[in-house]
């Protein structure tokens, strides 16, 4: 599909003026997430500390991406682009760690 001249294309944003409440709700969730992160770090969970911290950070990141960055209301192409970077960083980290983690085997 040549989207170039398609007036009904995926031009996001214009039809999606989010209600103010959404922004404030996301903001509050981010603040709560930050407090949770700090609080969870004060408890010794062993290896789980990392996982909890990254989990909270990922949720916060997802909120920012979906609502503040309007990805939730954008075209599929934007979804793919937004995901691509993280996917490739995951490749980089996974394969590099595959080396470091299995050196002592």
């Amino acid at each position: 599909m040549a989207s170039g001249t398609d007036p009904h294309g995926s031009h996001g944003g214009e039809h999606h003026i989010l209600p103010l409440g959404v922004y404030w709700a996301v903001f509050l969730a981010l603040v709560v997430g930050t407090i949770l992160t700090v609080w969870s770090a004060t408890i010794d969970l062993g290896r789980l500390n990392v996982i909890v911290a990254l989990l909270i950070a990922s949720v916060k990141a997802a909120l920012v991406i979906l609502y503040f960055m309007h990805v939730k209301y954008s075209s599929r192409m934007v979804w793919i682009f937004a995901a691509a970077g993280f996917f490739w960083v995951a490749i980089m980290i996974l394969f590099t760690m595959a080396d470091f983690a299995s050196r002592s085997w």
């Binding site: 003026i17 770090a41 503040f68």
Partner: protein, 231 residues
């Protein structure tokens, strides 16, 4: 724009700003996709540092905890909140442009810049503190050996800390520059309900910088929190 572009556009299709586009929709879609492609490159820039972090953190977990507890987690948390607020005001500035509230665009932008600058000021004091404590690696700088046997590996932690937060702070400084441009344009009522894409793209950049910090904060500041809290 150009004589070559004489063919009539269908009714209701607005002309683009640049002649090589067919219509404004194509131009705006291109600019938005271009911005996202740029953000991919940004993710990869930081990605390499995240990889280095992951490797060394797994190689030297104790040293990283020791070193991390020397960071001031309170200042880090404050900065996290400051950035979140600035992201909110940024998003609200875009919403103001979408709804044609011109004065709100201006003051939300100003608010974003103030919070951004606050972040950098806090960061500056943190850096100076680390410098005076001898925790900044460098050829002529003294690196403290308070970490005992972990000293070399702690040095790696601080190298990564300065590389990551330094690159992040650099992005903040660039962001403040772009926001200055936004402010100048906003005062001229440049951003309107049907022309706010540039502002939206600035917003994407700003949120991305916030996003990086959301990960940096727990990764760098909170590793040793459960036994080194409140140093």
């Amino acid at each position: 724009m150009s004589a070559d572009h004489a063919h009539a556009l269908p009714a209701g299709v607005r002309p683009p700003t640049y002649h090589h586009f067919e219509d404004l929709a194509q131009q705006e879609e291109s600019e938005k996709l271009g911005m996202w492609a740029f953000l991919i490159t940004e993710v990869m820039f930081f990605g390499a540092l995240f990889t280095a972090y992951t490797v060394y953190r797994n190689l030297y977990p104790e040293a990283f905890m020791d070193a991390s507890s020397k960071l001031n987690w309170k200042l880090g948390a404050v900065n996290t909140l400051v950035l979140i607020v600035s992201s909110l005001t940024m998003a609200l500035a875009i919403r103001a442009a979408q709804t044609g509230k011109y004065s709100q665009v201006i003051w939300q932008t100003v608010a974003t810049m103030i919070f951004g600058a606050t972040f950098l000021v806090v960061k500056y004091f943190e850096y100076m503190h680390k410098y005076h404590d001898g925790l900044m690696p460098g050829p002529t700088l003294f690196f403290t050996d308070v970490f005992g046997e972990h000293t070399p590996q702690a040095r790696i932690f601080f190298s990564i800390y300065f590389a990551m937060t330094g690159l992040h702070a650099f992005h903040m400084v660039v962001g403040l520059g772009i926001l200055t441009w936004v402010l100048i344009k906003a005062r001229k009522r440049y951003f309107t309900p049907d022309r706010y894409l540039a502002l939206e793209n600035v917003g994407l950049y700003w949120h991305f910088v916030d996003l990086v910090w959301i990960f940096l904060f727990p990764m760098l500041y909170l590793l040793g929190a459960h036994y080194g809290l409140g140093h």
